[in-house]
């Protein structure tokens, strides 16, 4: 008799998904899937809207990384306008994007994953949350809350609102940075540095105890993609995309937003509303690749900031060539945060940062445009077509979670095979299968331009598909 284990919903995840694990008659894991269970349809219902509405509309795809959507969308619009935005606007947007990266990574690491990392994968599920972390490890818990607040407050200072700020528009931003706000951000830096240093120290102390998880949490060779600058340093807002293989060789370089769809394709699987991106020359699924913190650090030769560069050197020692274990996404995420704080400080020293010229104005000069940026969890691509009046006639979005989708599914299978033996498993074992997904920090809201949730049900299903037994947690 075959059996299906269903984890529904996967919790401490940004969005809503289920995991199913298929067992054969001998109780061995045959297959496993990660299902994303909602879809909203931004690619279609944006049709007919004026293009200049797109950033504010597309931001509503996701409340966690609205800034990434604002920026990728504004860049696609600027391609349609054929304008280059003022230097100061570009710098302010870069700072906004980094602030969002810091807050989103703090959410992922502290609110969602630190209960596993600091309290233990097998700890009491009733206390496995941020409140439990604050109670057990107050210093770290409060540092995590403060780091998320740091990022969110910068977004609020720049954009006048923490979530869905209307400040990023096609052509630049709506208002310049006031000196008092710059000073307020500068004053916040010391606490942010202290918080991330505390987190990095704590992570390095505990990482060794997770060796079994590191070995089997989506640990396999793959391609990697991310933005870099011309000097091969990490980039989140500008630059071009590079794709490397599992040994670190460059497969494709200098991918601009215009060329993205020539290189990257999307496949559909019947079990998920999130599509599966792949490198077209290799086809699907061979051309599957990973994006996000791990991919970015595997690709970048430097961070371009001193403290993060020291951490990158340590990170690169984890492997000869690219680091393949997805557990190390956590470490890469913390290094990203350190870089983000340093880079924000650096941007604030730009002599033009308070310049009043922050917006370029133009109408429709091209009927098609694409934009790309690094969202916290990986590369984000927006592509629009308009008519001569600037009304959207077609849109396509390729988001980070779709680009990690194949790796997440393979990772779930890899972990399930390790933790489910003879059809038997513990709560902690299933939590580990969920924790594989958490390393990727997927945003399911983004990935289907949607989401939701439900209970953990273990169903014993006969070969005829009848439910024979059920256990509900």
């Amino acid at each position: 008799m075959s059996q299906t284990i269903t984890i529904d919903p996967v919790t401490r995840l940004e969005g809503h998904g289920k995991i199913t694990i298929q067992l054969n008659g001998q109780g061995e894991v045959e297959d496993a899937h990660f299902h994303v269970t909602q879809v909203r349809g931004f690619e279609r219902f944006s049709q007919g809207r004026p293009f200049y509405e797109m950033p504010a509309l597309m931001a509503r795809i996701c409340g966690i990384c609205p800034v990434s959507h604002l920026i990728a969308s504004a860049k696609a619009c600027e391609a349609i306008m054929s304008v280059r935005i003022p230097h100061t606007a570009a710098q302010l947007r870069r700072m906004l994007n980094l602030a969002q990266m810091v807050q989103s990574h703090a959410l992922s690491f502290f609110y969602l994953s630190s209960p596993d990392l600091l309290l233990g994968m097998d700890s009491d599920p009733a206390n496995r949350h941020i409140f439990g972390v604050v109670a057990a490890k107050p210093e770290l818990g409060h540092a995590g809350i403060a780091l998320r607040r740091f990022g969110q407050h910068i977004i609020e200072l720049l954009g006048n609102k923490r979530i869905h700020p209307g400040w990023v528009v096609p052509g630049g931003v709506t208002e310049p940075l006031a000196p008092a706000k710059r000073d307020e951000i500068l004053a916040m830096l010391p606490e942010a540095y202290a918080g991330i240093k505390l987190a990095l120290t704590a992570y390095k102390q505990i990482a060794e105890t997770f060796k079994p998880e590191i070995d089997i949490f989506a640990n396999f060779p793959s391609l990697y993609m991310g933005l870099i600058n011309e000097d091969e340093s990490i980039e989140f807002t500008d630059g071009t995309l590079r794709l490397i293989d599992a040994t670190g060789n460059i497969v494709e370089d200098g991918i601009t937003a215009n060329r993205f769809s020539e290189v990257i394709g999307e496949a559909v699987e019947p079990y998920s509303y999130t599509k599966f991106a792949y490198y077209k020359p290799l086809g699907y699924p061979e051309g599957s690749y990973r994006v996000g913190p791990l991919a970015r650090l595997n690709i970048a030769k430097s961070m371009g900031t001193p403290l993060a560069d020291a951490e990158l050197a340590e990170f690169k020692k984890l492997a000869v060539g690219p680091v393949q274990g997805s557990f190390h996404y956590h470490y890469a995420r913390l290094i990203d945060i350190l870089y983000g704080i340093e880079k924000i400080e650096h941007i604030l020293t730009d002599p033009l940062i308070l310049d009043k010229h922050v917006r370029a104005v133009a109408g429709v000069n091209r009927l098609e445009g694409a934009g790309q940026a690094e969202a916290p969890r990986g590369t984000l691509h927006h592509h629009y077509k308009v008519d001569e009046n600037g009304l959207i006639t077609w849109a396509n979005l390729v988001i980070a979670t779709g680009q990690n989708n194949n790796a997440m599914n393979k990772g779930v299978l890899q972990a399930a095979k390790e933790y489910v033996k003879d059809g038997k498993f513990t709560e902690g074992a299933l939590n580990r299968v969920e924790a594989v997904i958490r390393t990727f920090d997927p945003c399911l809201s983004c990935s289907t331009h949607a989401f939701g949730q439900m209970p953990l049900v273990l169903s014993l299903v006969s070969d005829q598909g009848d439910v024979v037994d059920q256990l509900i947690r």
Partner: protein, 177 residues
């Protein structure tokens, strides 16, 4: 006094309301002295508890799963709060209503796909023809508009609900805020 049981749920929304809820920052930890978060995307409970005092629901009702969930939430919650514009009025998710789910699915999985073009149908829930706000399915006790409602709005509202104090929502937030 025993702590009140608080649940937070995402239906068809962007998570922005949940992020704004977390934007209470340290005030959320202080609030946890008076309430237990018994069910939420940020805790590991897999089944909606039998008795919840306050349920905050983000998002509109867009799929057959959403519809089942909102009915279950209502049945087990003393006070149901429609959290944010999608829950209150449909907002952005309901923008697909004039087009219908088929056109949405065709664009995403047939037209905008390069390989194995098909409409996903295994395990994933069917979409409802029309996206609707939650009050069209169940009774809502408190409407908290905003896209999203601010952290201050959450803090003031939850404090009033926990202490039984006066609550003047129009003074705190509005549609589109």
């Amino acid at each position: 006094m025993s702590k009140l049981k608080l649940a937070t749920v995402w239906l068809d929304g962007c998570s922005g309301c949940h992020m704004s809820f977390l934007d209470m920052d340290e005030r959320l930890i202080q609030l946890a002295e008076f309430v237990d978060v018994v069910y939420s995307p940020i805790v590991d409970t897999k089944v909606f508890p039998d008795e919840v005092d306050i349920a905050l629901v983000e998002g509109a009702v867009a799929s057959v799963d959403d519809e089942k969930k909102i009915k279950k939430i209502r049945a087990h919650s003393k006070l149901l709060v429609a959290m944010g514009d999608c829950a209150v009025a449909g907002n952005v998710p309901s923008m697909r209503n004039p087009i219908g789910p088929e056109a949405i699915l065709d664009r995403a999985y047939i037209e905008n796909a390069d390989f194995q073009q098909q409409i996903p149908c295994v395990v994933v829930p069917k979409l409802l023809k029309v996206v609707r706000p939650i009050h069209e399915f169940v009774k809502v006790d408190v409407f908290l508009p905003g896209c999203p409602p601010s952290a201050d709005t959450f803090h003031t509202t939850l404090t009033a609900l926990v202490t039984g104090g006066a609550l003047d929502i129009p003074a705190l937030t509005r549609f589109g805020a």
